[in-house]
């Protein structure tokens, strides 16, 4: 696989935290919880779309909020972001699936279907996250 093109997706100065799965709480590799690491795995994305897909929702929101700010002023995105933050807090326990109904309604994704609803539906996944570890991670004690 030609990895030259993928290198352009790296930012030289900003650490690409999304792509370093091995970093534990102190920034060093966490072999116990995340397995063995290899430089090649961490430095380059495995697919050109990986980074853009991971950040897609974020980037869309940023773009929309910017447009909204330019059209209606600062108050509009501020109020909306407050509502998003409130809606994001309505969750079940960390290892259980939440419907995210309020968040979906706010975003307008309750009347659209995308690949995230068809492929790899988390409700139908065969494996479940370990409840203890996920709760500890959520509480920050991990």
């Amino acid at each position: 696989m030609n990895t030259r093109g993928l290198r352009s997706q790296l930012k030289d100065s900003v650490p690409v935290t999304g792509l370093c799965p091995q970093a534990g709480s102190y920034g060093v590799q966490d072999s116990l919880r995340r397995g063995f690491s290899s430089v090649k795995n961490e430095l380059l994305p495995s697919h050109p779309l990986e980074l853009s897909e991971k950040n897609f929702q974020l980037n869309q929101d940023k773009m929309n909020f910017n447009t909204l700010r330019n059209i209606q002023g600062l108050h509009a995105p501020l109020k909306l972001q407050m509502e998003y933050r409130a809606a994001r807090q309505i969750q079940r326990l960390p290892f259980l699936p939440s419907s995210n109904l309020a968040l979906d309604t706010l975003r307008g994704s309750d009347d659209s279907i995308g690949f995230e609803d068809i492929l790899n539906d988390p409700v139908q996944s065969e494996m479940m996250g370990d409840p203890h570890i996920m709760t500890e991670y959520k509480l920050g004690v991990l």
Partner: protein, 267 residues
């Protein structure tokens, strides 16, 4: 429980890139041994569309190939998007199938929300935004046609997300053959029979001159309030009928004596 690799956050749906590196390594290993990995099923294809006086006519052949082998002799390439919008798909068969189904669902939800018949331009915009998001990795080249409140419209959509709104379009490996027929005989505001004949001839040109297209010709005529899905419109390539039979007729006498001849073949 895999204690060394644990998931700390609830995982989202959508595409998963976990196996990409493994696949790349496997591909390299297989190529080193001299074999080739299985090819995705493509639809080779000739698809085309034309705008005539009262609406649009979409046409497609019906062959799906998997490398150099015909995988499906009679596959349906004209997909339903909404009651007044249909879409022909060329490229990777699974990609066109899933893309058109997703857009069809989204368009249905959207039209329920607006309370109106969906527009072709809406479907076009949804398709182009999705295909651009995936930067051409979804190999779906589409010809989208339909009739809505603004009249008959025809769009061609390329896998990277660019679209063209034109009176006649062709896509697929047989597109050049079909376009040659269109360039010769197209004129604006044709009658329905003439338009159907033109599309049928364009697809036939693709079928007979391109290896990736073959079998029958499907047509879809969309007018205001009516859709004619003609499948098959024309069976251009009939499979041959066997002229002889090696079976013995009933009542043939059985031969019970055996004669053995030894022949020497110098090797």
């Amino acid at each position: 429980i895999m204690a060394t690799v644990s998931v700390c956050q609830y995982h989202r749906g959508g595409f998963s890139f976990e196996n990409c590196k493994r696949n790349a390594l496997l591909e390299a290993d297989i190529n080193k041994l001299g074999f080739s990995s299985p090819a995705a099923r493509k639809t080779g294809t000739t698809i085309c569309g034309v705008v005539y006086k009262d609406g649009v006519v979409l046409g497609a052949d019906t062959r799906a190939t998997e490398g150099m082998v015909v995988a499906d002799k009679n596959c349906s390439k004209i997909h339903y998007i909404s009651p007044n919008v249909y879409c022909c798909g060329a490229g990777t068969a699974a990609d066109t199938e899933m893309t058109t189904q997703i857009i069809s669902s989204n368009l249905e939800l959207h039209s329920l929300s607006t309370g109106r018949l969906p527009r072709v331009a809406t479907a076009n915009r949804m398709l182009k935004q999705m295909l651009f998001r995936y930067q051409g990795y979804i190999g779906a080249a589409l010809v989208l046609g339909g009739v809505d409140s603004t009249g008959p419209q025809l769009y061609s959509i390329y896998p990277h997300g660019s679209t063209d709104k034109l009176p006649y379009v062709t896509m697929g490996s047989g597109s050049l053959a079909a376009m040659a027929v269109f360039e010769d005989r197209y004129r604006p505001n044709m009658e329905e029979e003439e338009a159907k004949r033109l599309v049928r001839d364009a697809i036939a040109a693709g079928i007979f001159n391109d290896l990736g297209s073959g079998s029958n010709i499907d047509l879809c005529v969309i007018t205001k309030g009516k859709v004619d899905y003609l499948r098959p419109h024309d069976v251009a390539n009939k499979k041959g009928v066997r002229t002889g039979n090696y079976r013995y007729k009933h009542g043939t006498t059985d031969d019970t004596t055996h004669h053995t001849l030894t022949c020497f073949f110098p090797l």
